[in-house]
C-alpha cells in the first residue's frame, strides 16, 4: 500500500529476473544431451524447409553406413508417420513425433521419444526436425550437431533469408545437387558466402542422395564428428580421473 498518504493504492513489487525465456526447454535439452553422452551416441538435428530431401538423405545414409555405424531416427512431422515408415523399411528403428499444429520439435518432445528408443548399441541418432527454416532454430533439443539442408530448387540466398537458422549450422548441405546442371541460377559459392556473412565457418557440401554425389564427404563428416565426440568424452574422463 502507498505509504505516503494512506490511500488504498497497492504499489506493484518489482522483481528482477534476467532469465532466458526458454530456460525450461534448455534444461530438458541438457537432460537429453546427458542421455546421448551416457550411451556414446552422436545426435544430429537435421533441419530444412519442407521437401528439401531430409528423409531421402537419411535413407541413403542408412544404406551407405550399413553395419559400420548403427543408427536410429526420430522423425518430426505435423501429421502422418510416413517418414518413420520409410526409415523402418531399412531395418532401422524410427520413432515418429506428430506435433499436430506445432511448427518445430522441442526438447520435451524429443525426451518423450527417447523413452521409446533403445540407445544401447547405437552410434548415431538423427532427429529429423519439422520442415521449417524458422521455428526449429529457436528450440535446443540437446543434439550435438545441427545440420541444415538447402536444396538447389530453393535458391542460393537462403542463408541471408534465414540467418537465425544458418548461423548455428555445424554443416550446410546443398541437397539435390544432381539438379545443379539444370537449375543454372543456383551457385553453391553464394551459399558459402551467405553462411560466412553470418560469421559461421561451417563446411558447405553439395550432395545428392539420388546420384550419390557428395555422399562420401557427408559420411566422412559424420565419422569425424563421432571421433571428436569420443575425444571430448575421453578428455572428460581423464580430467575426472586426475581430480
Amino acid at each position: 500500500m502507498c505509504q505516503d498518504c494512506g490511500c488504498s493504492v497497492t504499489l506493484p513489487e518489482h522483481v528482477p529476473l534476467v532469465k532466458p525465456l526458454l530456460a525450461r526447454n534448455d534444461a530438458e535439452a541438457r537432460h537429453n544431451r546427458a542421455h546421448f553422452d551416457a550411451h556414446g551416441v552422436l545426435a544430429v538435428n537435421l533441419m530444412s524447409a519442407p521437401g528439401s530431401g531430409k528423409t531421402l538423405l537419411l535413407e541413403a545414409t542408412i544404406r551407405a553406413l550399413g553395419a559400420e555405424l548403427p543408427c536410429a531416427v526420430i522423425e518430426g512431422d505435423l501429421e502422418t508417420d510416413n517418414d518413420a515408415a520409410r526409415i523402418r523399411r531399412h531395418g532401422v528403428p524410427a520413432i515418429q513425433i506428430t506435433t499436430g499444429s506445432a511448427c518445430h520439435l522441442d526438447a520435451h518432445m524429443v525426451h518423450h521419444a527417447l523413452h521409446e528408443l533403445e540407445l544401447d548399441g547405437l552410434a548415431l541418432l538423427f532427429v529429423e526436425n519439422v520442415g521449417n527454416l524458422v521455428c526449429p532454430a529457436s528450440f535446443a533439443l540437446g543434439t550435438h550437431r545441427d545440420v541444415v539442408l538447402v536444396s538447389v530448387t530453393e535458391g542460393d540466398d537462403k542463408p541471408a533469408k534465414y540467418p537465425v537458422m544458418f548461423r548455428h549450422a555445424d554443416l550446410v548441405l546443398v541437397s539435390k545437387a544432381d539438379l545443379l546442371g539444370v537449375i543454372d541460377d543456383f551457385e553453391v559459392e553464394k551459399v558459402v558466402q551467405g553462411v560466412r556473412a553470418l560469421g559461421n565457418p561451417a563446411p558447405v557440401l553439395a550432395i545428392s542422395a539420388r546420384s550419390g554425389r557428395g555422399m562420401p564427404a557427408w559420411l566422412e563428416w559424420l565419422r569425424g564428428q563421432r571421433v571428436a565426440l569420443a575425444d571430448v568424452a575421453g578428455e572428460r574422463r581423464a580430467t575426472l580421473a586426475r581430480i
Binding site: V15, A137, S138, L198, G199
Partner: protein, 124 residues
Amino acid sequence: MHELAICQALLDEVERVARERQAERVAAVRVRCGALAGVEPELLHRAYEVARAGTLAADAELTIEESPVRVYCPRCGSETAARVQRLVCGACGEWRTEVVAGDELTLMSIELITAEGARPQGGI
C-alpha cells in the same frame, strides 16, 4: 509461428514466480528480445494477448525491449553494430566474429501486485 509456444514458456515462468511470492496478480512483464533471437516482437505481442487469458498475468502489460546486434572481432578487437544477415566486423570486415548482443531472449523483470500482509519478507 512459434511465438505462442514461447509465450506459454514465458507465462509458465511468470506464474511460477508470482505464486512463489504469493502475488494476487501480475501487473507488468518485461522481456528483452534480440534481433537474432528468431522472434518477431509484433507476433510475440499478439500471441501474448491470447496466451495470457486466464492466467495471473491476464491484465499484465508486456513490454518488449528490442536489442540490436553487436559483434566482437577477435582479429582487430573492435565491437561493432551488425545487421542480422551480415555479422561481419564493421571495422575491418573480418567474418569470423562473435555475436555479443542481439541473440538473447530474456525475461528481464515482472511487477507483482501482492495483498498487504501476504508479501513474503526478505529477498527471493
